[in-house]
Symmetry: C2
Subunit: 288 residues, 2 copies
């Protein structure tokens, strides 16, 4: 299958609708939102999706459009359903502004529970100077057509791990076969995960969907031979460039699993081979 | 010169005295502090020193002692002199707690100005499980004795760049000669900086001094042939292990200078060759 048979536009796509926020009248900086069940892994709302939603609220609140550096602390598990995002403008400068936001949901007893707290510096990716001195190399991986999607997996093999996951229906994810061995019971042990990532409806990437992209692949723990939940404690994303159209290449690496924690580093490269995002998260390792 | 001729103890050293915070009576979570002129680069207070001070306030405020993941946004330039740190306990869990803190100083007109905003997850490094699966390798660099300190630099060569910098008197910093060429006008161009780092009074490292360590070497920009100021926008540090006694090896790398910004990744390895800290900062690149 070629990429992007049907194309949705940035601003008018599944991802845009599902991350939309609505300013609450009379409460400046407060936004209502609805966490979609369409971006869940098993029952948990994907952390990158959540970050994109909070990223949209900060875009609405701050004078600059793009998160240049954004950090999220994941405090409690989010659930599909209504949420409110409260933002604060910390500092508004000429080329960069700083904001903070928290997303809350109501517990059964009606109390507001904070799900995620975010601090970010926003700027304008389109206004950055043109200098590029990148010595990092794009990940060595096969072309899109030679990578594997979850629908390529043998019946009953990959499906128990990722098949019941709603988010996969919304992504166009093709894993490098070298990092997909875990789905066949043969993880490489290296702690790598690589793939091509688009959105299923063909929407191109922008700053908001890159926040999703860094956390949308299966966890590197699978490639280490560890199965189970890998909850993110903290995730920091740096956006470095506006992404060119087409799917991006995402490369995840884990080099230090210790003390029950692991780091997951992501690089995201666009179709023009520009390094458009770098991220690192600290997560709890599954018990071996 | 051998390392640590005179030894100061953790808790009773220059670094501990200069990062001390005092709880303000009657204002829970508020701490007074004094930014020392001893940890400045030219006139600017070092960002790692500032982070360590805020880290101490959060240690006092939270139920857990060690920053496991800590992120700072640098908002305005700090100056030596009095400061106040206001903390908030965001969430207190069994093994981990989350806190936030801001450090303020007074402007000439008496207004409080926020210098740095920090969000962090604290835990207990001593209570983490013993599993270690580190595939990262310690940096290849010469032994401590074969590395160069700023006092080894020829008169009038390195001194204009780093010699007037008070922080160097408080550090025992020995650069890998391969990354010290910039001091002689011959940067490698790779964007690397490596060195052994202790404290000048021989105090061993702990969680707090590791927050300093990730930001205490000369900037990688020097190795790229760029001179000038490299202000940090955001710095995130993950502490992964209690450091063993003795100086640590710090390795900094920059792989993507683009759009006027660069990332600086740090790895800190202790004398037992454990990866004790990982960090990344996003900074403004000096104009070429």
């Amino acid at each position: 299958m070629a990429y992007a048979a049907a194309r949705a536009a940035i601003g008018d796509s599944e991802f845009d609708r599902d991350t939309a926020v609505t300013a609450r009248p009379g409460e400046p900086g407060t936004y209502d939102a609805d966490l979609s069940a369409g971006w869940t892994i098993i029952r948990a709302v994907n952390g990158g999706y959540l970050l994109a939603m909070v990223g949209r609220a900060l875009r609405a609140a701050l004078p600059h459009p793009d998160p240049i550096s954004i950090t999220a602390h994941y405090l409690t598990a989010s659930e599909p359903g209504p949420a409110v995002i409260r933002t604060e403008t910390v500092r508004a400068g000429r080329t960069m502004s700083t904001g903070q936001a928290s997303l809350y949901q109501r517990a059964e007893d009606g109390r507001e529970v904070e799900r995620i707290r975010v601090v970010a510096a926003y700027g304008d990716l389109g206004a950055l100077p043109d200098d590029v001195r990148t010595t990092a190399q794009p990940p060595a991986m096969p072309p899109y057509e030679a990578c594997v999607s979850s629908s390529d997996a043998p019946e009953g093999v990959a499906n128990p791990v990722v098949g019941s996951t709603a988010i996969l229906d919304r992504l166009d994810l093709r894993l490098d076969p070298a990092t997909a061995g875990w789905a066949l019971g043969a993880p490489s042990g290296a702690g790598d995960m690589r793939g091509w990532l688009g959105l299923a409806d063909g929407r191109d990437h922008d700053a908001m969907s890159l926040l999703l992209a860094v956390d949308a692949l299966p966890p590197t723990a699978f490639d280490l031979g560890l199965a189970g939940w890998v909850p993110t404690l903290e995730l920091t994303v740096h956006l470095r460039c506006k992404p060119a159209p087409g799917p991006v290449r995402v490369s995840l690496t884990t080099r230090n699993l210790a003390g029950g924690l692991l780091e997951e580093d992501a690089q995201v490269w666009d179709s023009a081979s520009r390094l458009v995002a770098q991220s690192r998260q600290l997560a709890r390792a599954p018990r071996p």
